[in-house]
């Protein structure tokens, strides 16, 4: 009998030894390797340098404190030049060659869309893609269950802006100038919903990415009698539209979607940019919320150069906080599946950087509200509470 029990114990111990999980890709005893694909030399190269720098600052802070479960975080960054095909190649390299644990913060809608098959084929999660596109949180799409979005979708932003404008002035005639690409396409989805809800027609004027002349669009908005104009651009486009309108002595209320919240918009537009109101889905970097306070402390501690400090750098920092929390919740021996499960336990997670975030198996959307930030006397001022 003793012999049988002894044999069973030995077999049991061997079985336990055999089922010890193999380490997940990118995870060693001392390090977690994550991959990031940014635009380092394309049209958005400035963001491509600033956003990951904010994340690296927070990773350094965590690493200095001993890392996550004793492992330091290392981020590899590849360049996609805002080209989806290059994004696929770069992601393949990170996942297949460098064997990263997960992907983080890939910049741009079409690059993120293009890498979906890689995510689903390899089961690699993508955390906080750096795009506001609402398609990122669509769970019915390929690899939707592996993508955790943070930003309020462009479609929601468009919808909220129309609601806000009509609340202020029910007779408002709204126009929109949108980039004729995936970004504008997603804004139009929200505008269409708002048109249906309020039974209005929004005047739509498109432009091609990289356009520098907006006289035609501005003239059409003037002719259409638009009292409120939403600009779905980045930095140059809202500045040029507002300056062109000023030159035409056309003075509607200007609004902008997420990317136009960049402080440079108001500064470059000068007097034409006064009163420009943009949506933003996180706490302002210079506000008194706990997230921004920690951010500014770390900027000082790690001697971050002045030009880097601001909205996009803060965004990199805030999304890094989310990833680190996800890694904490993934457990001592993280796997890609346990990271997904860990993130799906977020319930009103709030460290004061974003509004409270909830993820679960049916919801990977992250933030779904915005606050409005207005340019007043050359300074950005938050003028509303969180709008849903």
């Amino acid at each position: 009998m003793k012999r049988v029990v002894g044999t069973l114990i030995i077999i049991g111990l061997l079985a336990v030894g055999c089922v010890k999980r193999a380490p997940a890709p990118g995870v060693t005893d001392t390090e977690v390797l994550i991959g990031n694909v940014q635009d380092l030399s394309g049209p958005l190269k400035e963001l491509g340098a600033i956003i990951p720098s904010g994340s690296n600052m927070y990773f350094q802070y965590i690493n200095d404190q001993g890392g996550v479960h004793g492992r330091s975080i290392k981020m590899l960054i590849e360049d996609h030049q805002y080209n989806p095909q290059k994004a696929v190649a770069a992601t393949k390299k990170l996942v297949e060659k460098d064997q990263v644990f997960c992907l983080f913060q890939i910049l741009g809608t079409s690059p993120c869309e293009a890498i979906r098959p890689i995510l689903s084929e390899t089961g690699t999660p993508l955390i906080a893609p750096a795009t506001n596109s609402g398609t990122m949180s669509d769970l019915s799409r390929e690899a939707g269950d592996l993508i955790f979005h943070t930003d309020t979708g462009y479609d929601r932003q468009g919808e909220i802006l129309v609601d806000y404008i009509l609340n202020q002035n029910s007779d408002a005639k709204i126009g929109i100038v949108y980039q004729d690409d995936d970004y504008g396409e997603n804004v139009l989805v929200g505008i269409a919903r708002a048109e249906e809800e309020h039974e209005i027609t929004v005047q739509k004027e498109s432009y091609q990415r990289g356009a520098i002349d907006f006289k035609g669009q501005t003239m059409n908005l003037l002719k259409g009698g638009c009292t409120d104009v939403i600009i779905a651009g980045i930095v140059r486009e809202p500045v040029t539209v507002m300056k062109t309108a000023e030159a035409m002595n056309y003075k509607p209320n200007f609004f902008g979607t997420g990317p136009t919240v960049d402080a440079r918009v108001g500064k470059l537009a000068g007097s034409a940019g006064e009163g420009f109101t943009a949506t933003y889905w996180a706490n302002m970097w210079n506000s008194d919320a706990p997230g921004p306070i920690l951010y500014r402390e770390l900027c000082e501690k790690y001697d971050i150069p002045e030009p880097y400090i601001g909205l996009y750098h803060y965004y990199g920092f805030a999304t890094a906080q989310l990833l680190v929390e996800g890694l904490e919740r993934a457990g001592r021996n993280p796997t890609r599946k346990s990271l997904v499960r860990g993130l799906e336990t977020f319930k009103n997670w709030d460290v004061g950087s974003f509004p409270p975030i909830t993820y679960n198996r049916n919801d990977h959307a992250g933030v779904d509200k915005v606050q409005l930030v207005q340019m007043q006397n050359g300074e950005q001022v938050v003028i509303t509470d969180w709008l849903e």
Binding site: K92, T135, D182
Partner: protein, 343 residues
């Protein structure tokens, strides 16, 4: 009368084809990152098919095209729409979609009857912009600039999904494309193309119908690009207007110039050289480039490619394939070869 390939040594071709199909197994044995290398080779394979067609147009016929990314887009979108929205089988789309791209080529061939050189290049570049606008305008089918999800290829009831399977699909068609390209180049049509390139007046005097052959060159080139587009769409699973920008068309020209114009093998070598340089060697050196030049590798990538093209045009106008031929002659004549021959 000499046979079409009599002055060539064709024995190595089956060996090369066997090597092409054994390569994934070799890579798998050598590196755990073999899937990444296969992905890069798949991309090269698709571009090889396109560049064989581009070489027939720009190399053999002398008609410059700076809009071949648009033909790729036409093939890709046609197939994505036919297969996923109209339920056409992938195998049938492999025939229909290239025909659509070929017809676009046929239409673009019209201006080629009156203009040539850089003006034709600019016209084809304009074609690239038109196609992009058309994709955005027909958003009901194309989803505009939002991009289009594309299903994986299904052949004989078997879904081809991974890079491993894609490799065998793509390189089967690469072999077919290269053989077809060489057959065309060595045929009456190929000779007519070359006659037009060398002197339109002389070609016309020899009884060659300029209009017919120029438009045929565009049609055939469109067919190859459309074919590449079908494979591109279904193996990438997602296509958008950002995939087919003007820079890609210029890279195609660089590929055939580096490989050696008017040579099908040159198109193959040039494509492999540029794609491998772009995806394997530039990323390897990116840290050194950042350290020495204080800039991103991507910032000077176009500079590197431009420089390579210049160096080839000045020092090796016959490209990589020309270099190979010279080397072969050098060793054949060894030791009776004058030094000047190998320059």
């Amino acid at each position: 009368m000499k046979g079409r390939y009599e002055d060539e040594n064709l024995y190595w071709i089956p060996v090369l084809i066997i090597f092409v199909f054994l390569l994934p197994f070799i890579l798998k044995g050598l590196s755990f990152s073999y899937k990444y290398y296969l992905f890069v080779l798949n991309m090269a394979g698709i571009y090889i098919i396109l560049n064989v067609g581009l070489d027939l147009l720009s190399g053999f016929t002398g008609l410059l095209s700076l809009g071949h990314a648009a033909f790729l887009a036409v093939g890709a979108y046609s197939s994505a729409i036919l297969v996923d929205q109209f339920g056409v089988p992938f195998a049938l789309s492999l025939i229909l979609s290239p025909l659509v791209a070929g017809l676009f080529g046929f239409v673009i061939g019209f201006p080629a009857l009156r203009i040539s050189g850089m003006y034709l290049g600019l016209t084809t570049m304009g074609f690239g912009f038109i196609v992009k606008r058309m994709i955005i305008a027909f958003r009901e089918w194309t989803h505009g600039s939002g991009g289009l999800d594309v299903s994986s290829p299904v052949l004989f009831g078997y879904t081809i999904k991974t890079d491993w399977n894609n490799y065998f699909l793509i390189y089967t068609f690469v072999v077919i494309a290269v053989v077809a390209g060489r057959r065309i180049a060595k045929s009456k049509i190929g000779r007519a193309f070359m006659a037009i390139r060398d002197s339109e007046q002389a070609a016309e005097a020899a009884g060659i119908n300029l209009a017919k052959y120029k438009m045929l060159a565009f049609f055939i080139s469109g067919l190859f690009a459309g074919f590449a587009g079908v494979l591109f769409a279904h193996t990438s699973s997602f296509i958008s207007t950002d995939h087919f920008d003007i820079l890609l068309s210029i890279y195609f020209i660089i590929m055939i110039l580096v490989g050696g114009v008017s040579s099908i093998y040159g198109a193959v070598l040039g494509t492999l050289f540029i794609v491998l340089l772009d995806n394997l060697f530039v990323p390897l050196l990116k840290d050194q480039i950042h350290f020495w030049f204080n800039t991103q590798a991507g910032d000077i990538q176009s500079l590197i490619f431009g420089l390579i093209m210049f160096l080839f045009i000045i020092f090796q106008p016959m490209g990589l394939y020309g270099m190979w031929l010279k080397m072969r002659i050098y060793w054949k004549l060894f030791p009776f070869n004058p030094r000047q021959r190998f320059t």
